[in-house]
């Protein structure tokens, strides 16, 4: 096996006049945080600033992973440790491309890593009435996770009830998350941080009937078997797969019935008498057509890899710009995949930096005049964090703030929005090793 000396970088990347190398990461979701973590493990004296458009770090760990799956959200503890280190800064509430330009980052950092994720649900792409009630699973989960920017929160009517019968399109883990959140009773949310107000707005009572439609055959479904099992095991939920109960006939009457149907390919979504009609045909036999009427259709068919994201940065192709997660693969991926991708990207960044005769770059310090006053530092985020945990109702682990104003007020806490800490040059000796 490799000794510590062997796993350490072959040689430290050159520091300039004793000043460390500076890397900017755009996006404080798991991809960005894992990349920063791997960069620091590979080169402990590197200075990293992680920018996020939101006032809060952790991306979809906070606003995507289901609020009743706190275990999966616990990876944020790794990232808290990362931001606790001198030389790693969270620069929240700064949208790169809007509040500060990518060019400004390139002027101040030796390398830039784009880790902006995929922000939008993939659209269905079938014949669809524009006013039919179709919402994206990502948008719905953001709402239930208290994302201040959740699209459903900002419709002029506000979030409204999904009705008592919904169709979910897609058979991946996100589809299972949505079905589970809409079928649970209040008691099932103990110790979660679900946005109770939002949940009761979209589902005043657990939804009575949920149809999950998949295009593929059952064995090809993308969800983990454990996710389906978890759904079927909720007390009061009865789950059928292609008409067959998954766990045998229920003893009590069902609060929510979930019908999973495979090999149903959607062909159109129409508005009909205030409801939605989903027309599907059988995979492999286009003559077999089915209609399903419901109050709302929820699409859970992945996230949009379209160039909206890269357009944000004008499709930059500089040798010191790296991509990780969605911007690299076009897929949102899960934590494990993104951790691996981030480790690879970090290797690429370090190789690049070691192969360069680096210019003088001052990192965040050089950018300070150009950042908006309302920057949220990691310390300020910790104030938000503390306030959310303190204000939680007894049976919830946290009650999140749901607007940017509230988040920024909590960030300001007692003091003003504090400045961003960076490692002092004295902490690094002339060989570039951290003491």
């Amino acid at each position: 096996m490799r000794t510590p000396a062997e796993t350490a970088p072959n040689r430290p990347a050159a520091a300039v006049n004793g000043l460390p190398l500076q890397v900017a990461v755009i996006g404080a979701g798991p991809s960005g945080c894992y990349a920063a973590q791997a960069l620091r493990k590979g080169q402990p004296d590197i200075e990293i600033a992680v920018f996020d458009a939101l006032p809060t770090p952790f991306g979809l760990v906070r606003y995507g992973i289901a609020p009743d799956h706190q275990g999966a959200k616990a990876v944020s503890r790794q990232f808290e440790r990362l931001f606790g280190q001198p030389g790693v800064a969270f620069v929240g509430n700064v949208s790169v491309g809007t509040d500060v330009s990518l060019e400004a980052l390139l002027e101040n950092f030796h390398a830039v890593v784009l880790a902006t994720g995929l922000g939008t649900d993939r659209r269905l792409g079938v014949d669809q009435d524009p006013d039919a009630r179709v919402i994206g699973a990502g948008d719905l989960i953001r709402l239930l996770n208290s994302d201040p920017d959740a699209r459903l929160r900002h419709r002029h009517a506000g979030p409204e009830s999904l009705g008592s019968e919904v169709v979910i399109l897609g058979t991946g883990n996100v589809s299972a998350d949505v079905a589970r959140l809409l079928s649970k009773s209040d008691l099932d949310f103990i110790a979660s941080d679900v946005d109770d107000d939002a949940l009761r707005a979209v589902a005043p009572n657990p939804v009575r009937t949920i149809h999950i439609l998949g295009r593929c055959e059952p064995h090809a479904a993308k969800w983990d078997a454990s996710m389906v099992k978890e759904l079927a095991e909720i007390v009061g939920v009865h789950l059928n797969v292609d008409g067959v109960p998954l766990l045998g006939e229920p003893t009590a009457s069902a609060r929510t019935t979930v019908n999973v149907r495979f090999q149903h390919v959607p062909v159109s979504v129409r508005r009909l008498d205030g409801r939605v009609r989903v027309t599907t045909r059988r995979a492999g036999d286009s003559a077999l057509v089915d209609h399903l009427d419901a109050d709302t259709v929820i699409t859970a068919i992945g996230f949009d890899p379209s160039p909206a994201q890269s357009a944000q940065f004008g499709g930059v192709e500089a040798s010191n710009v790296f991509r990780v997660g969605g911007p690299a693969t076009g897929r949102l991926g899960n934590l494990a995949e993104n951790r691996k991708l981030a480790a690879d990207a970090a290797k690429g960044v370090l190789e690049f930096l070691r192969g360069q005769e680096p210019l003088h770059r001052t990192g965040l310090v050089g950018l300070r005049d150009r950042l908006p006053a309302s920057v949220v530092s990691f310390e300020a985020w910790q104030r938000i964090d503390g306030a959310e945990v303190r204000r939680a109702r007894p049976d919830r682990c946290r009650t999140k703030f749901t607007t940017r104003d509230e988040l920024l007020a909590a960030a300001a806490g007692s003091g003003a929005l504090v400045s961003i800490p960076t490692a002092t040059p004295e902490a690094i000796d002339t060989t570039g090793e951290v003491k």
Binding site: P4, H69, R77, R81, A191, S226, L335, A336
Partner: protein
Amino acid sequence: MTVVHVLYGTESGNAEMVADDIAAAFGDQGYETVTAELTDVEVSDLAAMQIAVFVSSTYGEGGLPETAAPFHDALLTERPDLSGVRFAAFGLGDSIYETFNNAIETIRTALLELGAEQIGTTAKHDAASTTPATELADAWARELLTLMPA
């Protein structure tokens, strides 16, 4: 001087953080420590280790994480004689799964079968609990230190 090897298998990095903590706890007591992901460890290196601390999460239906599975396969194929090796075991899992913390049991069973001796108790962190893994790791490592040869 006793060298403590902290060997981890992970998918989303929690086990790596725990491994770092355990290594730090031993380092603080003057032990030399080596931390490595199981993908970087050869089964043949194991017999020469005095103390090996295994840290692993569980995936799938009670399976080993991707970075630990090849190591376990190799253990079962190569079957090195591990008498003389002392090991400790720390698992990470989530009690929403029926196969709670199965992977560390799988690793433990293989090591015991090959003659290694376990020291301390097997820790089983539950991600669904409110205790952070690092907190459990610190407490567990401290207890383990009391069982170490002087």
